[in-house]
C-alpha cells in the first residue's frame, strides 16, 4: 500500500488544489481499484497512442485520393451535374449532436483524475479508476462540482439558457465499455437549453446557404452533461481488453436544431462549435484527437413540400431522417452527409421509402452503411437516477462566469481585423492555430513593435500605424515563421523564436536598417538555433545571439549606396547585357526592368542595395 500511496501523491496534490474537501481516503481509491482490476486480469498494456494525422495532411491526402479517382473514372463532371440538378429538386436538412470531452481535473462522478499527472504512471490502462468507475457493488456516484465550470462556459458561449434545476438520468444498454450497464446523462432535464450559433462565409458557409445574408443562425436545442465510456481493444480472436481510464470522464452533448441545409455548413457548424469550446476553455482536445465526436441526423424533402410530415425538436414538415453515428473528423461529417443525402434522394426518386435507421460511415467511403433499423433500435429505458440530487445552478454563478469569460473566437478575429488591420482570413487562420498560442505571440510582437516605432502623434495616426505594423507582424508570424516551421517540420511548441526577437528584426526592417531578405535570413537562423536556457543565471547571450549580433556577424546592415554608386553598378550591368537593354528600350518590354533590379541586388554587396531605389535608377538610365 505504501508504494501506491506514493504513486498517487501527485494526483492527491493536484486534486487538493481543486477541491479543499477532498480527503486522503478518497485519493487512495483509484489504487485499490487498479489493484482490484489487476487481480481480475483486466489490466492491459498501456495502449499505443493512436496515430494522429494532422488535419491538413489528412485533407491533402483525401484530395489526392479523390483526384486519382476522378482521373481513373474520368467522368466527374457528369456526376456533378446530375447531382446538382437533383439538388434543385431536393432539399437537405441536417441536425447534429456533438459529444465533447470537458477540460476538467477529475471524472464526472468520481475523484479519479481525468488526466495523467506529472510523475505518475497513470498513463497505464486502468490506473485512473475509482470504485464507482469500475461499478464495484455498493458504490454510488458523487457529482464533482468542478466539472460544472467548463460545461457552463460552453453553455454561455453557445448562448444557452442555463437551467436553474436539471437532473440526472440513466440510459441503459449492455456493453463492456459501460461498466454500470447504463450511462448517466441528462435526458429529461438538461442543464442548458435554447442556444444559438451564428456563422458567416468565413466559417465556411457556402453562398447558397447564406442567400445574400451576412450570416446564418443555427439553433442549439440543448446541452447536457454525461459520462464517457471505457475503451475496448480487440486483441486476438476472442480476447478484448477493457481500459476504464476513460469510463466516467465528463462529456457534454451539444444538440443543434435541424436548421442546417448543406454538408459544408454542417462541417462548418462542427468546426465552429469546436473552436468556441476550445476558445472558452471548455474542452482541450479537438476532433482529430478524438476529443470530439459527432452524430448527424439527415433527411431530404422535395423543395416546397413538407416531406413526410415528420418533425424533430419542434421543426416540422421534414422528411424521414436517418442517423449517422460516430463521425470523428470535419471531413467525415461533410462526406457522410453528402453520401447519405445522395442515397436518400436515389431511394426516393426510385419510388422507395426512407426507413428511420441508424447508419455508419467510414472515412473514404462513398456510401453510408446500415447499422440497425427501427426494429433493432435500443430501448434505453431512461429513468431518473435516484442516487443523485438534482443539479441546482445559481444565477449568481452564471453571472460571475459571464463576466469572466474568455473572448469568443469571433470576437478575437474581429479584434484582429479591426484593431490590428489583418484580413479576416489571416485573422481566422492565426486564431485557429496552436490553441491560441500564435495569436498571443502575434499580439505580443505587435505591441512591442508599435511601442518602439510608433510616433503616437494623434489618435488617427496611431490607429494607422497600429494597423500597418499589425499587418507586417501578421505577415511574418503567419507566413514567414509558418513557412520556416513547415520547412523544418516543427510544431509551434518548438518555435524557439521569441516575440522579442521577432520584434527586433521587424524594428530593423521598419527603420530600413536591413533588407527584407536579410530579415528573413536572420529569422531562419534563429529558428534553427537552440532556445535560450531559462532562468536568470544563464545569460542568453552565451548560447543564443541577439538580432543585433546576427546582423553584425552576417554583415547584413544596410549601408546605403550613394546615387553615384547606384549608377555605377547599374551601368556595369547594363553594359554586360546589351540585348536586355535593347529589349527594354526598343521593344518596350518594361517587365525586364525588374530583371535588372534583381541583378543589382545580387551583384551588390549584401545589405547595400534596396530594390525600390535600384528600380528608380535603372528606369532613369533606360530613359536617358
Amino acid at each position: 500500500m505504501h508504494s501506491s500511496t506514493l504513486r498517487t501523491a501527485p494526483i492527491h496534490l493536484t486534486r487538493t488544489l481543486q477541491h479543499p474537501s477532498f480527503t486522503t481516503a478518497r485519493s487512495l481509491r483509484p489504487c485499490i481499484v487498479a489493484k482490484w482490476l489487476q487481480s481480475r486480469r483486466l489490466t492491459t498494456a498501456s495502449p499505443r497512442t493512436q496515430e494522429v494525422i494532422p488535419l491538413r495532411k489528412h485533407l491533402k491526402d483525401e484530395a489526392k485520393r479523390k483526384k486519382a479517382e476522378v482521373k481513373r473514372d474520368g467522368n466527374v463532371l457528369s456526376t456533378k451535374q446530375t447531382s446538382d440538378s437533383r439538388l434543385d429538386k431536393w432539399e437537405l436538412t441536417v441536425g447534429i449532436e456533438i459529444h465533447a470531452e470537458l477540460n476538467t481535473a477529475c471524472k464526472l462522478f468520481s475523484s479519479a483524475p481525468a488526466e495523467v499527472s506529472v510523475g505518475d504512471d497513470g498513463g497505464s490502462a486502468n490506473s485512473r479508476v475509482a470504485a464507482f468507475d469500475a461499478a464495484l457493488p455498493g458504490t454510488q456516484p458523487q457529482f464533482q462540482i468542478a466539472t460544472l465550470l467548463p460545461a457552463l462556459r460552453a453553455a454561455i458561449a453557445l448562448e444557452c439558457e442555463v437551467q436553474r434545476k436539471s437532473g440526472w438520468d440513466r440510459k441503459h444498454y449492455f456493453h463492456w465499455d459501460q461498466p454500470n450497464g447504463y450511462q448517466i446523462t441528462q435526458y429529461y432535464r438538461p442543464f442548458a437549453k435554447d442556444g444559438s450559433l451564428t456563422l458567416g462565409a468565413f466559417d465556411g458557409v457556402p453562398a447558397e446557404d447564406l442567400n445574400g445574408a451576412e450570416s446564418i443562425t443555427i439553433g442549439i436545442k440543448q446541452i447536457q452533461m454525461e459520462q464517457d465510456t471505457a475503451k475496448t481493444m480487440n486483441v486476438g480472436s476472442s480476447t478484448y481488453h477493457v481500459d476504464l481510464n476513460r469510463a466516467g470522464m465528463p462529456l457534454i452533448e451539444v444538440i443543434t436544431l435541424p436548421h442546417i441545409h448543406s454538408p459544408q455548413t454542417a462541417a462548418a457548424v462542427v468546426r465552429k462549435i469546436q473552436a468556441v469550446l476550445k476558445g472558452v476553455d471548455a474542452c482541450v482536445t479537438g476532433m482529430e484527437l478524438g476529443g470530439l465526436r459527432a452524430d448527424v441526423n439527415v433527411s431530404v424533402r422535395q423543395r416546397g413540400t413538407s416531406g413526410t410530415g415528420s418533425s424533430y425538436s419542434g421543426v416540422s414538415g421534414l422528411g424521414q431522417r436517418t442517423e449517422i453515428k460516430n463521425l470523428s473528423s470535419f471531413k467525415a461529417v461533410e462526406d457522410a452527409i453528402v453520401a447519405e443525402r445522395d442515397r436518400q434522394i436515389s431511394v426516393l426518386e426510385a419510388g422507395g421509402v426512407i426507413e428511420g435507421e441508424t447508419r455508419g460511415w467510414t472515412l473514404g467511403a462513398t456510401e453510408t452503411t446500415r447499422l440497425r433499423g427501427k426494429e433493432g433500435e435500443v430501448d434505453y429505458r431512461y429513468m431518473p437516477d435516484a442516487d443523485l440530487p438534482p443539479l441546482v445552478i445559481g444565477s449568481d454563478l452564471v453571472k460571475h462566469l459571464k463576466t469572466t469569460m474568455p473572448m469568443l473566437p469571433d470576437a478575437v478575429e474581429q479584434d484582429l481585423e479591426e484593431w490590428h488591420g489583418l484580413s479576416r482570413k489571416d485573422a481566422k487562420t492565426l486564431n485557429e492555430q496552436d490553441n491560441g498560442d500564435r495569436v498571443e505571440f502575434f499580439e505580443r510582437t505587435a505591441s512591442f513593435l508599435l511601442a518602439e516605432v510608433g510616433t503616437f502623434k494623434s489618435e488617427v495616426s496611431t490607429g494607422k500605424e497600429r494597423r500597418k505594423t499589425g499587418k507586417l507582424v501578421g505577415n511574418w508570424v503567419l507566413h514567414e515563421l509558418g513557412g520556416l516551421l513547415a520547412t523544418h517540420q516543427r510544431s509551434w511548441d518548438d518555435v524557439r523564436v521569441t516575440a522579442d526577437e521577432l520584434k527586433d528584426i521587424l524594428v530593423c526592417l521598419h527603420k530600413n536598417q536591413i533588407t527584407a531578405r536579410a530579415a528573413k535570413q536572420i529569422l531562419a537562423e534563429l529558428v534553427q538555433r537552440q532556445p535560450a536556457p531559462k532562468g536568470p543565471y544563464w545569460p542568453s547571450m552565451d548560447t543564443r545571439p541577439s538580432v543585433e549580433q546576427l546582423i553584425d556577424a552576417g554583415n547584413l546592415r544596410l549601408r546605403p549606396l550613394s546615387e553615384h554608386e547606384y549608377e555605377k553598378l547599374a551601368k556595369q550591368i547594363m553594359d554586360a547585357s546589351p540585348e536586355m537593354v535593347k529589349a527594354v528600350r526598343e521593344k518596350g518590354q518594361k517587365g525586364k526592368v525588374m530583371w535588372f533590379v534583381g541583378q543589382m541586388v545580387r551583384q551588390g554587396e549584401e545589405g547595400t542595395v534596396e530594390p525600390e531605389k535600384a528600380k528608380v535608377v535603372i528606369e532613369r538610365l533606360m530613359d536617358g
Partner: protein
C-alpha cells in the same frame, strides 16, 4: 483505532447481511448478496456501517444468508439454499421472513448480539416479526449506503435486528452519521432539522417525550388478508397503550391499497437498472466455459450472448422475474402507464403520511428535492379531495401490524404463487415508499406464551407465539419511534 478496546460495542458479535460489504479486513468475508453472479466476490472496501461497527469495538460474526440481492419476503431465494426459522409448527419449519432472514435467525438464536440487515420494502421488519425479535428501519438517508449492494436504491435502507429496543437504539446512535461517500446520506444541515438530531435543543421535543402520545390507527390497514391472531395482538396492544394514557386516533391512509402495486413497479424498475452491472466482466465468477469467438462477436453486434448467458446462469428466478418486470416498466411503451403512475402513487403515499402526522416532514418544508414527479391536479384521484385532517386528529405515530399473518411454513410458501408472497409486504411497503422510520416489535399472541431462545432444550422451539407490531413515525422522528417501540416492548 484506539477506541476499539473500550468502544461501546467492545467484544459484541454482530452479524452482517450478505449484501453489505465487509471489505478486505480480517477475516476476509465474501459479499455475494446470496447470488451466484457474485460467488466468492470479496469487496475491496468495507461498507461505512461495517467500518463504524468495528471502530466501536464490535466483532463481525459473519455474513448471513438472505434473499438474492434482497428480493424476497421469506429468504428462500438464495444461491445457498433457504433460511430456516428456528420456530416450527406441527413439525414444519416456518418461514424466517425476508429478505434479511439469516440476520433475524442469527439474532433470535443468540448466535450474535445483533445483526445488520437491509430493508427496501420490509426486509428487516418482516423477518423480525417472523422470528420474534426487534427490527428497526431508520429514516432513509440516516445510515450510509456506501458498500451496501443496491436493490432499489431510492428505498434501500440499512436496518438493525436486535433482541430488544435499547440494543437497536445503541446501534442506531453509532451508525447514524453523515457519510460523504453516499450521495443520499442526509447532510449535516438537514440532520440539524430532524427532531431526532438532538432532543435537548428542541423544547417541544422534551415536552413531547413527557406527555402522552397520540397514536394513529390506520383503518385502511384492516385488509381482508389480515389474519385474526395478528389482528387480535394488534388490537390488544392498542388497548393497553390506551390504558397507559396514550390516545388512539383513527386515521385514513387512502393510498395504502395502491402502495403495494406501486412498490412492485418501482422496486423492480430500479433493480433492473442497479443489477445491470452484473455482466461477469469485472467481478463474480466467470462462466465455466469461456465465451466462444462467435459469442464475443454476437455481443458486439448487440445480441449480447455472453452477458445474457452469464446473467441467465447467475441470477435466480425471482431476481430474473423482477429484472424483467422492471425492464418492462421502464420501456418506452410502458413508462407512462407504469413507472410514472407508480411515482405518482408514491407521492400520494407520502402526502397521506404528511397529512396525519403532527410534525411536518422536514424534507418537504425545505425546498423539495424528491425526484418523483408531483401529480398534476387534474390527475389527482377523488379521495385527494377529502378534507384535510384537522389539527386535533393529527398524530405522533402510527401503529400497525408488521405482517398480515403469523409466519407461514416454508412448505406453504413454496406452494404460493410468487405474486401472492408479495402481499406479505402490504403493511411495510408504505413506510418504505415514504422513507419513514419504523420498527417491528414482537408482542404475544393471545393465549400463547412467547417461547424463545430460552425454550425447552434441544431443538424444542415451538410455534413463534408472537406477532410483529409496527410503529411508524414522521421522517426524522426515529427517536420517538424507538421510544414507542420500547413502550410496546414493555407491555408484555
Amino acid at each position: 483505532m484506539s477506541s476499539e478496546s473500550n468502544g461501546p460495542l467492545f467484544g459484541k458479535l454482530i452479524a452482517i447481511k450478505d449484501n453489505i460489504s465487509t471489505g478486505p479486513s480480517t477475516p476476509s468475508l465474501a459479499t455475494t448478496a446470496a447470488s451466484n453472479t457474485l460467488r466468492k466476490h470479496a469487496s475491496p472496501f468495507a461498507a461505512t456501517v461495517v467500518r463504524l461497527l468495528t471502530e466501536n469495538g464490535a466483532l463481525i460474526a459473519g455474513k448471513t444468508n438472505c434473499d438474492e440481492f434482497g428480493m424476497g419476503s421469506h429468504s428462500l431465494n438464495s444461491a445457498y439454499g433457504p433460511v430456516k426459522n428456528a420456530y416450527v409448527r406441527g413439525g414444519h419449519a416456518l418461514s424466517a421472513g425476508g429478505s434479511s432472514g439469516g440476520s433475524a435467525v442469527a439474532v433470535a438464536t443468540r448466535q450474535c448480539w445483533a445483526a445488520l440487515g437491509t430493508d427496501t420494502g420490509g426486509s428487516v421488519r418482516l423477518p423480525a416479526a417472523y422470528c420474534g425479535i426487534v427490527g428497526f428501519k431508520p429514516s432513509y438517508g440516516l445510515l450510509s449506503r456506501w458498500g451496501v449492494l443496491d436493490y432499489a436504491n431510492s428505498m434501500d435502507t440499512v436496518g438493525i435486528l436486535s433482541r430488544d429496543v435499547p440494543d437497536a437504539r445503541t446501534l442506531f446512535r453509532i451508525l447514524n452519521r453523515f457519510d460523504e461517500e453516499d450521495p443520499t446520506s442526509l447532510p449535516p444541515s438537514v440532520r440539524a432539522r430532524l427532531s431526532s438530531a438532538d432532543a435537548g435543543e428542541k423544547p417541544d421535543e422534551s415536552a413531547r417525550n413527557a406527555r402522552a402520545l397520540r397514536i394513529g390507527v390506520p383503518t385502511d390497514y384492516c385488509l381482508e388478508e389480515l389474519s385474526s391472531p395478528v389482528h387480535r395482538a394488534w388490537i390488544r396492544t392498542l388497548n393497553r397503550l390506551q390504558d397507559q394514557g396514550h390516545q388512539l386516533v383513527p386515521v385514513n391512509l387512502p393510498s395504502t391499497k395502491q402502495a403495494l402495486s406501486a412498490y412492485y413497479v418501482l422496486a423492480p424498475a430500479e433493480a433492473s437498472s442497479n443489477l445491470a452491472k452484473y455482466d461477469g466482466v469485472r467481478y463474480g465468477s466467470r462462466l465455466q466455459d469461456p465465451p466462444s469467438h462467435q459469442e464475443a462477436e454476437a455481443d458486439k453486434s448487440g445480441k449480447s450472448v455472453l452477458f445474457s448467458r452469464y446473467r441467465g446462469e447467475g441470477f435466480g428466478d425471482e431476481v430474473k422475474r423482477r429484472i424483467l418486470l422492471g425492464a418492462f416498466a421502464l420501456s418506452a411503451a410502458a413508462m407512462d402507464n407504469y413507472f410514472i403512475q407508480a411515482q405518482k402513487i408514491r407521492r400520494l403515499v407520502q402526502d397521506d403520511f404528511d397529512r396525519v402526522f403532527a410534525s411536518p416532514n422536514p424534507l418537504h418544508t425545505a425546498s423539495s428535492s424528491s425526484s418523483s414527479p408531483k401529480p398534476s391536479s387534474a390527475q389527482k384521484p377523488a379521495h385527494e379531495a377529502s378534507p384535510p385532517q384537522s389539527t386535533r386528529s393529527k398524530v405522533d405515530l402510527l401503529i400497525t401490524p408488521t405482517a398480515p399473518t403469523l409466519p407461514p411454513t416454508i412448505d406453504d410458501v413454496r406452494q404460493q404463487d410468487p405474486l401472492a408472497t408479495y402481499t406479505n409486504d402490504a403493511f411495510t411497503v408504505p413506510a418504505s415508499l415514504a422513507g419513514l422510520p419504523s420498527i417491528s416489535v414482537p408482542v404475544q399472541t393471545a393465549g400463547r406464551p412467547r417461547s424463545g431462545a430460552a425454550a425447552d432444550g434441544d431443538g424444542g422451539w415451538g410455534d413463534v407465539g408472537c406477532a410483529g407490531v409496527q410503529v411508524i413515525g414522521q421522517f426524522g422522528d426515529d427517536d420517538i419511534v424507538l421510544r414507542m417501540g420500547e413502550i410496546v416492548e414493555g407491555l408484555r
